[in-house]
Amino acid sequence: MKSDIMRQREQRTGWILVTPALIILLLVFAYPILRAFWLSLFTQNLGTELKLVFSGFANYHRMLGDGRFWQTLSNTTVFTVVSVVVELILGMGIALVLNQSFPGRGIVRTISLLPWALPTALMGVAWAWVFNDQYGVVNDFLIRLGLIQTSISWLGDPTLAMMAVITADVWKTTPFVSLLLLAGLQSIPADLYEAHAIDGASSWQSFRQVTLPLLMPQIVIALLFRFAQSFGIFDLIQVMTGGGPAGGTETVSIYIYSTVMRYLDFGYGAALVVCTFLLLVAAVAIAVYWLSRSRVNAAGGN
């Protein structure tokens, strides 16, 4: 009985302590998205001379027939999936190397983090020059190596431009992934590997049977962070290609920006925001489900 009262009290204190944080969260997260949802039920654009006119779900209906929205959605998905997978593989490799002890490891770790520390807009400009068709380093290399005869217009072709922006994004955010994974690697006790080796496991086996399962939580966290960031990518692509050529690298964020800032179609822009938000929430929910499962696995492994 007494412990029950104690628990109740504790719970109450807990709620009181959590309330300020909850209020802030509501103000910062819930209010804007609810406001966007509210706005998405109205038409407010140049046609209405920027006045709010209630139009129900007309904006959502319009979205269904909007080929550009679906194209940007598929562009965003391609960008996100490819860049996150490549970053994860490269990040894992770098983390494994940095986890070994070798002379000068501290310096190498610091240097490998540098791309992550650069402002995105700045490196976007730099990468746009790297891929420039006339003066770019990439074309210069390929021509000197004799792999191509005439320079390739990297940012002038939809597929090549997508590859270029993915390359730039991978360069920038791989260090972030490898940092997260490195932290995870260091939390794995060395005696596990020792025991595994005594049992006769090869290093590949110990990577698959010890490292991967124990690293799962970090991998999922890295995935989650990177997924959310990539899905909302704006600055890098805006600077490198502006969404072109022919909309080949236009992501949802860039489309929303145009809808609001260029077309002044506020109601429709809000509907796009709400739809993208819901998709993102769904994707994160799936990832969190994985995360909880991998935690159970890891606990079971112990």
Partner: protein, 437 residues
């Protein structure tokens, strides 16, 4: 006692403080409001312009300031890209208190700026007589729903360039219809007189919409009606227009690359002497006639082509001035616009810059014609105009059209499928607009 005495002493100390304050206020009022009025502090007008235009306009603005000592114009240098300038205006107006008084507007911004209520209605400021001196299409481009928002100061129009040397040698008259152009190109290509027949802009950007408006008009079709919101992109005429453009690629008259070419790519190809015909803007004339150009003195211009029995037209571009609704000095701004768009100012401006006038008379002005002998012919081009639809959401409608034209030109979609989808998306866009009315 002392304490009782003190309040009165405080009491008679008050008047001097009050007096001092009063005098101070008077002096302040005098300095802040009355003196400036007496000495006529000049009114400052702010004006944003594209970087490359500033150089051309600066001397004329200085001249205006000399003649009007009560007005100063603060010229702000904007980016070179007109899209970025539009963004600057947009964010300034959205934030409410725009610093700009005089707005330099591209023809396609007028419906947007007017519908958003950012620019002043100038309809009653200018007489119909004065307006009739300008190129008609250029004035129409400054209107939105019957009201005038912009006074044109420069024209721009799609032009049909041809190689007069090759045509003269072959004894062929310049074509007037698409069909003639097609035949002449094929014939001369077969004879090996030219590599390509016809160059046009097919890249996915605003230029493709401008080019398509002309072909559409040439086949008797229309894009969208700004009054009824009717969309004509899936009508047989529009599909025929796309089919015609695709057939120029399929039959080898135009290189397959036209679907990725903008103005510059086509100009360079034409200038290197590789093509018989070219659709482009007036700026090409000067560059193609400079030393080093392979077609120097070998080219001529003609009004835009049309299909047999149809009346085509050139897509009109061009710039003009309007006044921001938030401007605190609309009268002074109007005086500046009047001065800068006067016929005399424009004559001097054209002679110095070689741009295209907005006054009809200047195309035939003897001084200008001696310097630019092709202007009388240019007038014929500019007067036969086809306008991009004056709908408030023009930018959105144009982006839709660009996407599907590009899909059709690159063969990702059939002409019919592309145009039906473009039409349905445009209807969707304008439909949401109509409901809201």
């Amino acid at each position: 006692m002392h304490k009782i005495n003190s309040p009165p002493s405080w009491g008679w100390q008050k008047p001097p403080t009050f007096l001092a304050l009063f005098t101070l206020t008077l002096v302040a009022v005098l300095f802040l409001f009355i003196l400036p009025a007496l000495t006529q502090q000049p009114v400052v007008l702010t004006m944003l312009m594209q970087g490359q235009d500033i150089v051309n306009w600066k001397p004329f603005i200085q001249e205006f300031e000399q003649k009007n000592p009560d007005i100063r114009i603060n010229l702000i240098e904007g980016p070179f890209d007109s899209n970025l300038v539009e963004n600057l205006y947009t964010s300034a107006f959205l934030l409410g208190d725009s610093p700009y008084d005089i707005i330099n507007m591209d023809i396609v911004w007028v419906p947007k700026f007017a519908a958003a209520g950012w620019v002043l209605d100038l309809t009653n400021k200018i007489s119909p007589q004065q307006l009739s001196k300008f190129i008609k299409g250029n004035v129409e481009g400054g209107r939105y729903r019957g009201k005038l928002y912009r006074i044109p100061h420069a024209s721009d129009a799609g032009m049909f360039y041809y190689r007069k040397d090759i045509l003269e040698q072959a004894g062929i008259k310049p074509p007037q219809t698409f069909e003639e152009m097609f035949r002449i190109s094929q014939k001369l290509q077969k004879q090996g007189k030219t590599t390509w027949g016809y160059l046009w802009q097919g890249k996915q950007y605003e230029g493709v919409s401008a080019m398509f408006v002309e072909v559409l008009a040439g086949f008797g079709g229309f894009w969208a009606n700004p009054d009824t919101f009717e969309v004509g992109l899936d009508k047989p005429e529009a599909i025929k227009a796309v089919e015609f453009l695709k057939s120029t690629i399929a039959s080898g008259i135009s290189p397959a690359g036209v679907s990725t070419y903008g103005e510059e790519e086509t100009r360079l190809l034409f200038q290197s002497g590789k093509s018989l015909f070219l659709r482009n803007w007036p700026y090409v004339w000067r560059l193609a006639n400079t030393a080093g150009s392979k077609v120097k003195d070998k080219i001529a211009i003609a009004p835009m082509l049309s299909s047999v029995g149809k009346q085509g037209g050139s897509c009109l571009g061009g710039w003009g001035w309007g006044i921001a609704k938030t401007s605190k000095h609309p009268q002074q701004a109007w005086r500046a616009i009047q001065y800068l768009t006067s016929e005399e100012t424009q004559r001097k401006f054209i002679l110095e810059t070689g741009l295209v006038p907005s006054y009809k008379s200047l195309f035939l002005d003897p001084k200008i014609v001696t310097q630019y002998p092709h202007y009388p012919q240019l007038l014929k081009v500019v007067e036969k105009s086809a306008l991009r639809p004056a709908i408030a959401q023009y930018a959105q409608a144009s982006d839709i059209l660009q996407r599907y034209l590009s899909a059709a030109f690159t063969g990702k979609m059939t002409s019919e499928k592309a145009m039906t989808t473009a039409a349905s998306e445009t209807r969707n866009l304008l439909g949401s607009f109509k409901q809201a009315q």
